[in-house]
Symmetry: C2
Subunit: 351 residues, 2 copies
DNA sequence: GTGAAAGCGCTAACAT
DNA sequence: ATGTTAGCGCTTTCAC
């Protein structure tokens, strides 16, 4: 072995060190690192070796100072909980297993590319302004946004400021901004077809909050599909995507339609609540009542019985969101794009 | 005197612009911004006005380049799920509502200070190395670490590298590193005292995974407290902190001790599972069996009946974790510190 | 194809 | 108490 004393000192090696080790100029090393053509293959090899030998890693700050790019994106959870001034702690949002899946999908895509998201919550006007400032200053190159309710003003603000951004789910009002979403109507149709195929005839549904586009689409898709099966009217109780709201909605449905034999619930969390209420009222699932959920979240397998549900490919969608954002960052002019994913039915015991 | 036209161009204003507007040098503006003494109050005022007028905001990259500080910390979720090479998506971890509370507490503390955590997962040797590199390069000034299992090697690696870091929960093996934790023994004692005060006499417990210090402490604390009440032996079934493991453990307990009338479950998620099994076996809660959980998580109120539980002040602990980290970053020499929080009993319907 | 040199915006000696 | 100046490590014209 040889001496190889790495550039010694306490500080980490710089371009200069690598250049010296390779016997070339800083510029050449920089070119190799940034994959710019016009570098002699032989020299390229020498430089690569020198990089390995010195253990060189580019300094972000220095690079960022000149390129005006940070190589960082913001992951913004917006429209989170209460958000009163006196509550120092943001976000019950995170509590929803859904968010974890989004984060996982995003990190799964970004990490191999050496980029790590900065986590931000934006539940008040003040914190939304903070997010905008952060992006405008160029502390991050763009934003991935997960809104928790329909009236979130952040998407519009982002679009207005022409900042690179991608949303999870279509915004309630049309806004020129990119997003990924799942085909909610198609998912609801899968549920409808399955319930009918199981021989169910007195079918009802528990919807999500109807000011959210996703809820509207799931409900409309379900109604349309059922109509096509000869069921023009479907009893519906509106929920709020929470466990408790699912219980309450199921109680209402049961009170008005004690003879129902199938129910499509707009998400798994509510379905979990519905299941408990059904059991409480002595209805066997799926014997007396078949239940189909939506999301294929962890709740689906935690249920008793395990839930037949519509799979929402959240991780893939989140990864695509990240991909789209990088695209927008690379090509600032690019018009907004949306990518819609196909759901799939996952059959378990509940229907 | 003045040009009137705000720094004009498309780019954002720099120190230079502010200096010109205020009629002073860059250095003076810098001093005002960084709150360094020895600046004439009158000039300070002028400068502040100029800053406001120009809408100046410091450039992170430039500052970071010279200070060797990023004003960024990493939030690392370590020892996450499967982590096989072929699974591109990290972390089922996030799925646990617990993590959301930690993130909320951290952001609550950091955000007012203008700092936002970078989210990282570290479930494999490779990703752990990535975290270390990230910190060593100075892309973040320190790390906040939430480990999900006992054998996580990252805390030791961090300590070895002498990187500023704070853990949530005491590490399984003693390591010279700072952490925050709750007094698990005291919490378990609260549960024991309460069950005994309710007149329960045939009491059992469901513990967490016994390789985790927190589980050991909760179990030992419970046993000791019960011993003090004259119950030297307490039946115990080990769980894994998951819903399903709670169900399984409760089944085992019931099989061996069908006459039990009280149970302390080491976390709410398992308690939720236990509750379901008890109901399934026809035991009324709290009529036949009293149940006390641990954490006061969202699961506690989602249960039927709502869970009496030991409150784990997760958000406060997370905030303290962030505070400690900033302290370590400011004073590199500082020896590791640990801060232990007191739990409290929250009485609801289950016991 | 490669090197020299000019900054990016800021802080921190060092002068004054 | 304030101004001058020298970089921090990198990319990027511009010559060669």
């Amino acid at each position: 072995m040889r001496q190889g004393l790495p550039p010694s000192s306490g500080s980490s090696p710089t371009l200069e060190d690598v250049a010296r080790a390779a016997g070339v100029s800083r510029a050449t090393v920089s070119r190799v690192i940034n994959g710019i053509r016009n570098v002699d293959p032989a020299i390229q090899e020498t430089v690569r070796r020198a990089i390995a030998a010195t253990g060189y890693v580019p300094n972000r700050a220095a690079r960022s100072l000149v390129t005006r790019r940070t190589g960082t994106v913001a992951l913004v959870v917006s429209g989170a909980g209460g958000g009163s001034q006196d509550d120092p702690f943001p976000s019950q949002v995170f509590t929803d297993p859904f968010f974890g899946r989004v984060a996982g999908g995003i990190v799964g895509f970004l990490r191999p590319r050496g980029i790590h998201p900065v986590l931000m919550f934006a539940e008040t006007a003040e914190t939304r302004a903070q997010v905008l400032t952060y992006l405008r200053q160029g502390d991050a190159d763009g934003a991935l946004l997960v809104s928790t309710h329909a009236e979130d003003p952040l998407p519009a603000l982002l679009a207005e400021a022409k900042l690179p951004a991608v949303l999870f789910a279509r915004p309630a009002r049309a806004i020129p901004i990119s997003y990924v979403d799942v085909d909610h109507r198609a998912g609801a149709k899968l549920a409808a077809d399955h319930l009918v195929a199981q021989g169910r005839r007195r079918i009802a549904t528990i919807s999500g909050p109807l000011d959210v586009p996703a809820s509207q689409a799931r409900l409309a898709g379900f109604q349309d599909a059922m109509a096509a099966h000869g069921h023009p009217y479907i009893p519906c109780a509106e929920g709020g995507f929470t466990y408790h709201s699912g219980e309450a909605a199921m109680e209402r449905l049961l009170a008005e339609h004690p003879d129902l034999d199938g129910v499509f619930v707009a998400n798994d969390l509510m379905a979990q609540g519905a299941l408990l209420v059904l059991r409480h009222h002595g209805r066997a699932v799926p014997g007396d009542v078949a239940v189909v959920g939506f999301d294929d979240s962890s709740a689906a397998t935690a249920c008793r019985p395990p839930l037949t549900t519509v799979r929402h490919p959240v991780e893939d969608m989140a990864a695509e969101m990240a991909r789209l954002l990088l695209e927008h960052i690379d090509q600032p002019g690019r018009p907004p794009t949306s990518v819609i994913f196909e759901p799939a039915l996952v059959v378990r015991a509940s229907a």
